[in-house]
C-alpha cells in the first residue's frame, strides 16, 4: 500500500470540501430559483384576478348608470379608484415590500369604493331586481373570493421563499445570487368581513 504524504491528504480533503460546497451552493441556488418562480406564478394569478375585477367594472358602471337618478358620487369614486388602481402595476421581478404595499393600497381603494357602491345600490330595488345586475353581483362576489384565495396562496409561497432565503447558511447563497426578500399582502385595513384564512398545511 502506497503511503500518501500528509500534504497531499490535506489537499484532497480541501478539494473535497470545495467540491461539496460548490455542489451544495448550486443545489441551493436552484432551489431558490424554483421557489422564486413559484412566487412569480402566484403573482401572475394575483394580477389575473385583480384584472378580472377591473374588467367587470365598465359593465357594472354602465348597468348602474342606466338608472335615472343614481347617485353620481359613488359611481365616480369607483371610476377614479379604478384608474388609480390601473396605474399601479408591479412587475413579477420586483415584488419588494414597498411595491406590494403600494399595489395593495391602490386595490384596496377600489375595493372600498366598490363596496360603497354596492351599499348605495341597496336603495334602488328596481336595479337590484334586474337579471343583468344580479349576474354582475354574483361575478363581482366571485371575483372578490378569487382575490382572497389568490392573495392567500401568494402569501403562502412568499412565506416559503422568504424563509428559505433568510435561513443560514442559505442566506449566503441568496446574497451571492441576489435573491431578495419579497413582500406580503397584509390583512386589509378595517378587514371587518371574513376572518383571515390561511392555506397552511
Amino acid at each position: 500500500m502506497k503511503k500518501l504524504s500528509s500534504g497531499l491528504i490535506v489537499l484532497i480533503v480541501i478539494g473535497a470540501i470545495v467540491v461539496i460546497t460548490l455542489l451544495w451552493g448550486i443545489r441551493t441556488n436552484n432551489k431558490m430559483v424554483t421557489a422564486e418562480e413559484e412566487v412569480s406564478g402566484a403573482w401572475a394569478q394575483v394580477e389575473n384576478v385583480y384584472q378580472r375585477r377591473m374588467d367587470l367594472i365598465p359593465n357594472l358602471v354602465n348597468t348602474v348608470k342606466g338608472v335615472a337618478d343614481f347617485e353620481r358620487g359613488t359611481l365616480e369614486a369607483v371610476i377614479d379608484a379604478r384608474s388609480k388602481a390601473t396605474s399601479v402595476q408591479v412587475d413579477a421581478d420586483n415584488l419588494s415590500e414597498a411595491n406590494i404595499a403600494a399595489f395593495q393600497k391602490a386595490q384596496d381603494g377600489l375595493s372600498s369604493a366598490l363596496s360603497r357602491l354596492m351599499v348605495t345600490v341597496e336603495r334602488y330595488p328596481e336595479l337590484k331586481a334586474t337579471q343583468n345586475f344580479r349576474d354582475l353581483q354574483a361575478q363581482l362576489e366571485g371575483t372578490e373570493n378569487r382575490i382572497t384565495v389568490e392573495r392567500n396562496k401568494f402569501n403562502e409561497v412568499v412565506k416559503a421563499y422568504n424563509t428559505m432565503i433568510r435561513k443560514f447558511p442559505n442566506s449566503i447563497i441568496a446574497g451571492i445570487g441576489g435573491f431578495e426578500k419579497k413582500g406580503y399582502f397584509k390583512a386589509s385595513e378595517g378587514a371587518d368581513e371574513a376572518p383571515e384564512v390561511n392555506f397552511e398545511f
Partner: protein, 244 residues
C-alpha cells in the same frame, strides 16, 4: 388580533379529510339518502373523473362559508390535479343562525359552471327545498343540473329545461301516488285487507318505482368503499352561495 385569533380558532374547525364524497356532519340526510348520494357521486367520479364533495355542518365557527368551502376543496384536494375538476357543496342548515349554502368550483370547472350559474342553482334549486327542511331534495335538484353540466353534456340552460321534464315526471308520480293512497284507503275502510284484490296498473307502476328506489339504495350501502380517493385538485375562489 381578535381577527387573527378568530382565524386560528376557525382553522381548527375545518374537518379532517375523510375518504367519502358525502360528509353529513349536520345529519341532514337519512342513512339511505346518504348512501344513495355517495353511490351516485362515486359513479360520477368513476365515469367522468369530476369529483363532487358534499359537506354539511351545523356551524361554520365564524368562517365565511366561501372560505370554508375553498379551504376544504384545496386541503382535501377535490378533483384531479391535472384538471382541477372538483366541486365542493357546503350546507349549513338554518338553526340559531341563518342557513347558508355554497357551491365552490375548482379552477377546471369555472368555465362550465360560472359564478352566476352557481348562484342560480343555489337560489332556485337548493334554497326553496332547504326552506322546507328538505335538504335531500335540494341537493338532488342541484345535482340534477350540476352533474350533466359538469360532465359537459349540456349547457346550463339545456339542463334547466331538462329539469322541467324531470319535474313533470315527479308530478306524474305524485299523482299516481295519490291514486294509490286513495285506493288503499278505500280498501282499508271496506274490508281491512290491504293486499287483497287485483293490483291496478297505477299501483304496479308505483310499486315498481319504489322497488327501483330501494334497489339503488341498497346498492349505495354496498359501495361504501368504492371511492378511489381525492385527486389533488385546486380551488381558486370560483362559485357562489346564498342564505335563507
Amino acid at each position: 388580533m381578535v381577527i387573527m385569533l378568530a382565524g386560528m380558532f376557525a382553522w381548527a374547525s375545518i374537518p379532517q379529510k375523510t375518504n367519502q364524497l358525502v360528509n353529513d356532519y349536520a345529519n341532514l340526510f337519512t342513512e339511505e339518502q346518504r348512501n344513495y348520494l355517495e353511490y351516485s357521486l362515486v359513479a360520477f367520479d368513476d365515469s367522468t373523473s369530476n369529483q363532487i364533495l358534499i359537506i354539511t355542518t351545523s356551524s361554520l365557527d365564524g368562517y365565511d362559508i366561501s372560505n370554508y368551502a375553498f379551504e376544504i376543496g384545496e386541503k382535501w384536494g377535490v378533483g384531479r390535479a391535472e384538471h382541477d375538476n372538483g366541486l365542493v357543496i357546503v350546507i349549513k342548515p338554518k338553526n340559531q343562525t341563518p342557513g347558508r349554502a355554497f357551491i365552490a368550483t375548482g379552477y377546471g370547472l369555472e368555465g362550465a359552471l360560472p359564478d352566476a350559474v352557481c348562484k342560480e342553482i343555489v337560489d332556485l334549486e337548493m334554497i326553496p327545498h332547504f326552506k322546507k327542511n328538505d335538504y335531500y331534495g335540494g341537493v338532488v335538484a342541484a345535482l340534477n343540473i350540476i352533474i350533466p353540466v359538469a360532465a359537459g353534456e349540456y349547457s346550463y340552460q339545456e339542463a334547466r329545461n331538462d329539469t322541467g321534464g324531470v319535474m313533470a315526471l315527479v308530478i306524474t308520480l305524485l299523482v299516481v301516488a295519490v291514486f294509490v293512497v286513495l285506493a288503499f284507503g278505500g280498501n282499508n275502510s271496506k274490508d281491512n285487507n290491504i293486499g287483497g284484490g287485483g293490483i291496478d296498473p297505477f299501483t304496479a307502476i308505483w310499486l315498481g318505482s319504489m322497488a327501483g328506489r330501494n334497489h339503488s339504495g341498497s346498492f349505495g350501502s354496498f359501495s361504501g368503499g368504492g371511492f378511489g380517493g381525492f385527486g389533488g385538485g385546486s380551488f381558486g375562489g370560483g362559485g357562489a352561495g346564498g342564505s335563507w
